[in-house]
């Protein structure tokens, strides 16, 4: 029985009490049977900070966990304007044509619930959105008790239990979004476009070295030569870095999101990557390392969050930060004082 509810896009908003009507068994069965409405509700459930919701979410996630683990988890990042949506759309459509069960997530660690982020992805990937079999979800809200990264990791568990075999995760934000995605995916793709000269536009500090596959986009029209030069530069630069633990030789591919070219070659590289890392054990050892990080990260986040719930915490913090900024207050002393107040 579906309780009274209203929808916006992919999200179902339902009265709080109604979500507790289902047993874990019912949630699980529905999700495994391909019930998209239930899957969306489950994701909304795990994003909730309400204690009763968290209890239910954990019960559901624990039931899903043994069923998870079998998807290709692929992260993709790039500066604004690099053409991520067009690329994901082209890649996604070709994967669907190959009968992949595809889900696309957006992750923005600085997100808040907003109309912009709910609608944004569908607007930018209209053709892909229209495909019935794909599941697209904008970024988690910032309410999850473990933060946006934890919410995304849990969403992956639900998606895999639901049978998706390919999960593309796009970072839309700035800051530490890329590192978070890197820590929860098997393969990390960086999308670049050539800039004014022959340098590339805006490679953020530290990101290039994370990438397994680097794509030079907009290799079309007048841009072809420039894109090829940029690709050559990137190949030379990569040569300087330490080899990857995975033993995968980082590759640079030219694509045109606009003309849809380069995508089959990209898919081929993706398949080769998974073939190599399954064979040499890296995929599995990386997954182990990632769940250990998941635990550490979420534990630290949760402890700090709990401590910060002290009624005067923010007042004390703001006051200390003001005096530290001016250089009056020794940071160690501020920490010592704050800790004595807290414990």
């Amino acid at each position: 029985m579906v309780p009274p509810c209203f929808t916006r896009g992919d999200l179902i908003f339902i009265p709080v009490m109604a979500q507790l009507d289902l047993t874990t068994e019912q949630w699980l069965t529905g999700i495994r049977n391909g019930d998209r409405v239930l899957l969306s509700r489950a994701i909304t459930l795990i994003e909730s900070a309400v204690p009763a919701h968290r209890e239910q979410a954990l019960a559901l996630l624990s039931a899903c966990y043994p069923l998870s683990g079998s998807a290709m988890r692929i992260g993709i990042t790039g500066s604004p304007g690099a053409g991520k949506s067009t690329t994901i759309e082209s890649l996604g459509l070709q994967m669907l044509a190959d009968n992949k069960k595809l889900a696309v997530l957006a992750v923005d660690p600085s997100s808040r619930i907003s109309k912009g982020s709910i609608l944004g992805d569908k607007t930018r990937m209209q053709q892909l959105s229209r495909e019935a079999s794909v599941f697209i979800r904008p970024t988690a809200s910032g309410e999850h008790v473990g933060g946006v990264a934890a919410a995304t990791r849990e969403t992956i568990i639900l998606l895999e239990a639901a049978g998706f075999d390919t999960i593309l995760i796009e970072t839309v934000g700035v800051g530490q979004g890329e590192t978070a995605i890197y820590d929860m995916t098997d393969l990390f793709i960086l999308l670049l476009i050539p800039g004014a000269g022959d340098e590339l536009q805006g490679i953020k500090r530290g990101i290039m070295e994370l990438a397994d596959i680097i794509l030079i986009n907009k290799c079309d029209g007048d841009n072809v030569e420039r894109a090829k030069l940029a690709a050559a530069e990137v190949r030379r630069a990569i040569h300087l870095f330490q080899s990857k633990t995975s033993e995968w030789p980082v590759c640079v591919e030219l694509i045109s999101g606009l003309e849809g070219r380069g995508i089959p070659e990209l898919r081929h590289q993706i398949d080769k990557y998974f073939e190599l890392t399954k064979h040499n054990g890296y995929l599995e050892s990386n997954r182990i390392r990632q769940r250990e990080s998941w635990f550490q990260d979420q534990l630290h986040y949760a402890i700090l969050r709990s401590v910060s719930e002290h009624p005067q915490y923010h007042e004390w913090l703001k006051s200390a930060e003001a005096d530290i900024q001016t250089g009056q207050l020794l940071p160690s002393l501020a920490v010592h004082t704050l800790l004595k107040k807290l414990f």
Copy 2:
């Protein structure tokens, strides 16, 4: 009156009670007057986790804090075997010849009190160690309540109050040592040596992009051509990265630690860097950002450390980690369970 004590190298070991005999005023006067014994004791004091020591250390540091801030804080890193000690020695000797008041610190975030690390630096920089005016200190122990990074930040405060105007901080370790040093220095130098082909040996992930000055060492004898090729490769690669917030154009310099060549050019670049960043305000705004980070980092570290002092914490943690590693236990559930036990 100096209490009975014994020395090993630069460290003075004195009976606990003796350290509390001095007032903050006496500590401060001695340090400002150039009393090296007292300075060393003060650094040992700040590294102590004993609560009475911490109270005294904070009083001393608070008194020193207004006197701090005026040194050039320079970080230097590179793989083992890159020739850091030889380079620091050459650079240090030339700085001393110019009447700089130089201190050299080693930082290894994974350190423990060990004979190896106490003696290591002096052995490797023998000529520099013999100069009476230089102050060399091996890495902090891991006992500081804020960790090794906090201990180093506090040591900088003491050194600056003591009148040192140039502080070189060398990372000797692996892991996150470099990022920690980057967060407490004004200028960050990366030392590289050419490898077998024309690639450079072992540039660690993400470090190249932090550097303000990159040195290609061992540009001597048969290696000259190879070093020049390596420098050209690095210059091309840097061209791809985002410009620095400081507006400093990252430079690549060839040096020979062995033959002492390239050091005057390095010093010239260092001076130009400080000239630029003082002029455009970056030096100051970076210092503000760094003290805000200091506070955040040390606060989080101290909170997590406090919480981990719960008698059963490590038992619960180890048990959860074992089940997470095997994939049996959902990390979110482990966090939830542990948090309920703790709070």
